[in-house]
Amino acid sequence: MVSFEPLLRPTSSGLYCDAGDFYVDPTRPVDRAVVTHAHSDHARWGCRRYLAAAPGEHLLRMRMNDDAEFQFLPYGEFISIGGVRVSLHPAGHMLGSAQVRLEHRGKIAVVTGDYKLGRDPTCQRWEPVRCHLLVTETTFGLPIYRWPSPESVRDEINTWWRRCRDEGKCCVLYGYAVGKSQSLLAGLDTTLGKIFTHGAVEKGVQAYRRSGVELPETHYVGAVEGKPDWSGAMVIAVPSAHGSAWMKRFGRVSTAMASGWMAVRGSRRRRAMDRGFVVSDHVDWQSLLVAVDQCDPETVWATHGYTAAVARYLNENGRKADALDSGGRREGDEDATADAAESAS
């Protein structure tokens, strides 16, 4: 593995920059953390100081302890930490998600965090950042993952809603509480009926609104009084609510999961839901290759998911590449802890 010290090296606590004495998305509490986005597997509790992108301020504060010291940096602006030039660039994963660019003695490293290339009305679109070292996520780094266009999936979801409404059923659409839920919400056809939210989702919606993102009107399920008629309604909830007592109130439902994992039938069937929509906030195989080409690094470090396959493929195609971790991310890992913690609310 080519060394990029003192700019960046993998440690058991995450990626560490010796020159600036800080971590990027540390996996344990550290003194100084640069955080790519507000999902709990990237933004961990317990650090003393956090640096993140300005558009994600409300989301990060919602999830973090107030005792910590926060610094928010607009996309594209530079600050210096111990002689390392640090800047944050849009990653397109969710509101405020950032790629971290580090520059030191002429070497540039970019840590993508989670990212996607497709359009999303709720966040700024990914931009390529040229670098010597690209640390990319590879959650869906196999050629079986090929996302349909966001517009076609949005139409599929609305068609499903319309059909359920006509059959007198209530739609329950599952997505991660923060990020996925709001982007789903933005694609709904509000002429079809009322939209309700699970508690964890509603919190995210409000943080998005406070950040200036326009979203359709929502009604928090927990604040609904009496016994309303749920038929024809759309409920957005976290996956962990599936099959729970919380669901009983809705009567006849049609359930659907919105996730990149839904591309494969086995994952779809294991969830035991009526529908699976292929919607992801991560790069698929093709866009991963596009991103690597556009950032044009000498070296790629693959992290999360199919790291070994991506590294081997890139090595065979003219780039130096290494797999950072082999354990890898699996279905449901993403934001799972946040869901579990918040589904009770």
């Binding site: 196999l142 050629p143 079986i144 993952y145 090929r146 591309a263 494969v264 039938r265 086995g266 994952s267 779809r268 069937r269 294991r270 035991a272 009526d274 529908r275 699976g276 199919y306 396959a309 081997r312 493929y313 065979e316 354990g327 890898g328 699996r330 279905e331």
Partner: protein, 532 residues
Amino acid sequence: MIRFAELYNELDSTTKTNEKIAAMVRYFAGAEHSDAAWATYFLSGNKLRRLVPTSLLRVWAAEQAEIPQWLFEESYQAVGDLAETFSLVVPPGKTTTDDSLTHWVEHRLTPLRLMSDVEQHAAMLQIWNETPARLRLVVMKLITGAFRVGVSKRLVTRAIASHAEIPADVISHRLMGDFDPSAESFASLIDPEIQDTVPSKPYPFCLAHPIDNEKGPEVLGDASEYWAEWKWDGIRGQLIRRSAQIFLWSRGEELMENRWPEIESAAESLPDGTVIDGEILAAIPGGAVLPFAQLQRRIGRKKVGKKLLAEVPVVFHAFDVMEHHGEDVRSLRFVERRARLDEVLGSIDHPHLKATELIDGESWDAWADIRTTSRQRNAEGLMLKRKDAPYDVGRVRGTWWKWKVAPYTIDAVLIYAQKGHGRRSGLFTDYTFALWDDGQLVPFAKAYSGLDDQEIRKVDQFVRQNTNDSFGPVRSVTPTLVMELAFEGLQRSGRHKSGVATRFPRIVRWRHDKRPQDANTLADLLELLPED
């Protein structure tokens, strides 16, 4: 074809029986007879003979996707389903045609078999170019002969019955045996008028239900209302003698031609218009039944050599008669059918075609005692059958019961794991277990079933975190997990590293309370071997 792909998708995405039947009924109502015939053919588990070697398909798919071969294989490992891997990896087609299912099968798919490699290659590229992912999944399932969609033949039968408004048992009988997927045969399948006269046509088999070993047979009521037979471990068969011809059907509704010559020759003495139900067993004529492992030597042989015929003779143990002198006698009481069976077999007195023994006893206690000798006789336990019941079809409960002896059990250590297929694709669900022998763990059985979904997820996670080595798709893990395995039989075997082969191994429970060193030894297992 698009409608058939939609049907596949509907069947695939629900676990509810009623929704599956409704989807099929909708399909049949809207389909031409020719398409309905092919749909019936595929849904009831038939497949096209291999059209294109999958090894070539894999190479072409990798080329189309512009990926190296290893990455295609890696993708297949992740998906766990070859046809689905083709549908995902190859870029989606640019055009779509809506030719009928019949057109696809008869003009696009079947001709592939007779083409050269070069022609097949061109034809496949064209097929891929004309199919979006969902449609391609079904097309590739048909091409690779892996069309399974979680409907039993019984469900298909019910759907056709509901569509045609004809009783399900009539459809079931008409569907027995080889179904010719033509518009004419579908028309006669759903015709309320037609009489069935095909000589080879078998009857649906009567099925037995298990007796819970904890509760015992007392729940069945009075023992005097039952007869007992041995529950043999062989191959269920239906022997038909009609129009001077002989047909021997398996329970999977396959014609077993030329595979059991002793039985076929014995059947030649049967009077015309006879259909009997029984079990094919490896057995010395007039003597003992041999272990299943002996029969296994003949299973799968299309032609049987003289040596094997001499070493492993077979006997048809008949236990029921469905047709007697051309008359359907299934509605008669068992005592009457058994009398007719004895009469017809008594008249031919052939060593390879025998009425199975009725076991004296007539009280649950007496039968319980006799049952303990099952293993010595190479039987799995007892069958209990109501004397006054007709020969039932479908899933009628209460006429035939199987009262099996308790399985063998042993505690073993999980050492290898492999990803499963279908619903469990992508998860490590196929395990190899080992026992201790002189400080070493020796693999002795593979087991796939017995854990619930939550346990499977836990084992899956364990495997991912404790892999020491990979051999292709197989992961070798740190020996940690102990599971109790159950199995029905045990045989010495030269082909197994452990020296023994187990029959129907499965997981009974996860022994969280045991450490790997507490698992059983190979010597413990060998002690269970029946004495030679």
